[in-house]
Symmetry: C2
Subunit: 417 residues, 2 copies
């Protein structure tokens, strides 16, 4: 059937990336001297060769379909479906024909630049089966936009957003029976783009491979929410101004693992990443961070860090902000993207005006927080009576799931069949 005609989602937001992708990061708020990065100087980044196209996908079906695990046995990112997408690119021909192939190993020269210089970026998104058995994606245009921005930041090729969504849709439909039907289950999609040039000079890769793999996943909280304890971390920092913390680069992940392990060794599930002497709250683990404060005028504030170049532009973050702005009572709520510090959180906790805190991301949607350790002292974060979550996190999880599973019609949910 192809895409539902009633939902023209692939319009402006999912357009072909304009001609100077490299200007994405370097001409931002942290940029003091815009004269140094006008788009006109970035001619070397212009797309070359063929555009990415979904017109002639080649499909090779597996001769040996894998056995599927019972849904309750699924572990995040451990089981993969029967097929994958592979789309090679090179700087002469541009994007080559997209291929859907049996899931298989990549065979790469050991000099390939992805192994040495972290020429790699990825996305995380999900496909859901609704009660009619139809398959839905959640805001794929946002993932495509972010992936293009990220690719451009490390001189990997950008691509036509519509085309990649269509190619991914073909893969999802082909392996549609891998999506568990149970509410709470989904198919995690991992578009990945790696540099494949096999030489050791540190330079823009002349070849790349975009691939997509898919993993059926269960609910993040199979037995109800489970709130986490965080360690406020200022002995390591995740990202910095004029760096790449707002891009979904592999480079942002490995360096966070040792602090996570250190926090875990002290009994905390994740790091609450602080920045600067002020202790600005930036992210939690690999998620965006939300806090709810009661204000002196009696209103409630839902606050998260602003997109200042150090914060990942989370799709769930954006969805939560949009839903709060649309559905929360405007007389009672203030929705803020602003800088705030761990001291402010501690002060609110002491005053009894810290209402709630949670992380947001594709995997868990929301991750309620019950305690933050800061300089060895615990800051208690309230939960609802008898529940391991605050009210906003619970509400957002419900609203977003209703949209993802098509129970409430919403333009964010894209029907594939």
């Amino acid at each position: 059937m192809g895409f539902s005609k009633s939902r023209p989602l692939f319009s402006s937001a999912a357009r072909r990336l304009s001609a100077s992708p490299a200007s994405y990061l370097l001409c931002r708020s942290w940029q003091h001297q815009p004269k140094f990065c006008p788009a006109s100087t970035l001619a070397a980044s212009e797309p070359v060769g063929a555009s990415l196209s979904a017109a002639n996908i080649s499909i090779e079906r597996t001769a040996a379909p894998k056995e599927k695990l019972p849904p309750t046995k699924l572990v995040f990112g451990h089981t993969f479906t029967d097929h994958m997408v592979q789309i090679p690119w090179n700087d002469t021909d541009g994007w080559l024909t997209p291929k859907i192939l049996p899931y298989q190993n990549l065979s790469l020269d050991p000099a390939t630049c992805v192994f040495h210089y972290a020429f790699e970026c990825f996305e995380g998104m999900k496909a859901y089966k609704d009660s009619n058995g139809s398959i839905r994606l959640f805001r794929p245009d946002k993932n495509m936009d972010r992936m293009s921005k990220t690719a451009a930041r490390i001189c990997l090729p950008t691509f036509d957003h519509d085309a990649l969504i269509k190619i991914i849709a073909e893969l999802v439909k082909l392996d549609g029976d891998w999506i568990p039907s149970e509410r709470g289950y989904s198919l995690y999609l991992r578009p990945t783009l790696i540099g494949t040039q096999a030489s050791l000079g540190v330079a823009p890769p002349k070849s790349a491979l975009l691939y997509v793999i898919m993993s059926p996943v269960g609910p993040y909280y199979p037995t109800g929410f489970k709130a986490v304890k965080l360690e406020a971390t200022d002995y390591a920092i995740r990202a910095w101004p004029k760096g790449v913390g707002d891009r979904k680069l592999g480079a942002n992940y490995a360096p966070g693992i040792l602090p996570q392990r250190m926090a875990a060794s002290r009994g905390f599930q994740q790091n609450l990443w602080l920045f600067g002497d002020e202790g600005y709250i930036t992210e939690v683990g690999t998620m965006n961070a939300f806090f709810v404060f009661q204000l002196p005028d009696g209103k409630l504030e839902l606050a998260t860090a602003p997109l200042d170049g150090t914060i990942l532009e989370g799709v769930t973050r954006d969805s939560i902000l949009a839903l709060a702005r649309e559905r929360f009572d405007k007389d009672k709520w203030v929705i803020s993207e602003r800088k705030f510090t761990i001291q402010e959180v501690a002060d609110h906790a002491k005053a009894g005006t810290l209402v709630e805190a949670f992380g947001s991301g594709t995997a868990a949607v929301v991750s309620p927080i019950k305690e933050i350790s800061w300089r060895g002292q615990p800051i208690a974060v309230p939960l609802q009576a008898g529940k391991e979550t605050g009210m906003v996190a619970e509400q957002m999880a419900q609203w977003i799931a209703e949209i993802q599973y098509g129970e409430v019609e919403h333009p964010w949910s894209v029907l594939l069949n």
Copy 2:
């Protein structure tokens, strides 16, 4: 013959890494709260299973040796020798048997963590053929030490330094006829360590692969020095305090490519990386940065940025500092590891007391600088009359080459046969 007994280089410096490698980065000068990272909390990082051992290397020789290029046709990192080292590791068994194999592709599941989260680090070092036809390494203990520190920072396994040097030596000797005999030529060695766990959770890899490939390379300046023009870069930041800029991680490289391309589009070969509102000079491209200033008392100062956690601990940097401290006239020279700014450089240039500037690294040894563009204005850097280099860079290139090629006996040069 094995290692020369007269050169006990593999003593304390190349010892087995002690039990808490994770403390390497996080308990440094940038660390405000040392109580948060005592080594005793890092039990999860303790080595497990077998240590890396050179005792039972398995060797499989190629049945189809490649044709060798004429030395003059060599391009850095494009041609590789007949064999490679592969050593798998997993968190149950530790290091498995080292294998020397025909150079070959790696076959990896597309979910492998090196493709997604940049679990990767590397070293760059060289083997030289001396006038007797013997093969020499240059300070391999320094590379091993840095590689272990880097691996520990992203929860990849550390290893016995002596053992890896011995394994690398076996590979170099096997492919010894790939080392061009001509002065200025060498064999570039690329030890690489990647995470190989094939699942998408962001966590310490449970398996890894250490491999070594080798590329014969020609002189960096086949027709004499060629000084470069730099763009002082403050619109992008290479590294940050409490980050990972002092580690040889893949993650530090891809984000530097777009600024390099932007500088190149304006006619500059490299970025001079600045830090902070003060404009501290940190590195140049992927090299350490040295400046020579004339001081008010008539002395000369050789200055480079200190190892404060944002600077790569360059082996060539260390060698230059050591040689200067040992061989320069102490009445005439001050050797400084200190912070200094682009403004200080500009002031020296204006006063006629900027004497010289150069980058240092394994590939080029030294890279003389002739101009720095800062906020659109050129800072001219003096060169010697009729030469594309300053005096110190030229002297250091000569001294280091004499040691590397065994023309001057020095404990830094390790004979392999």
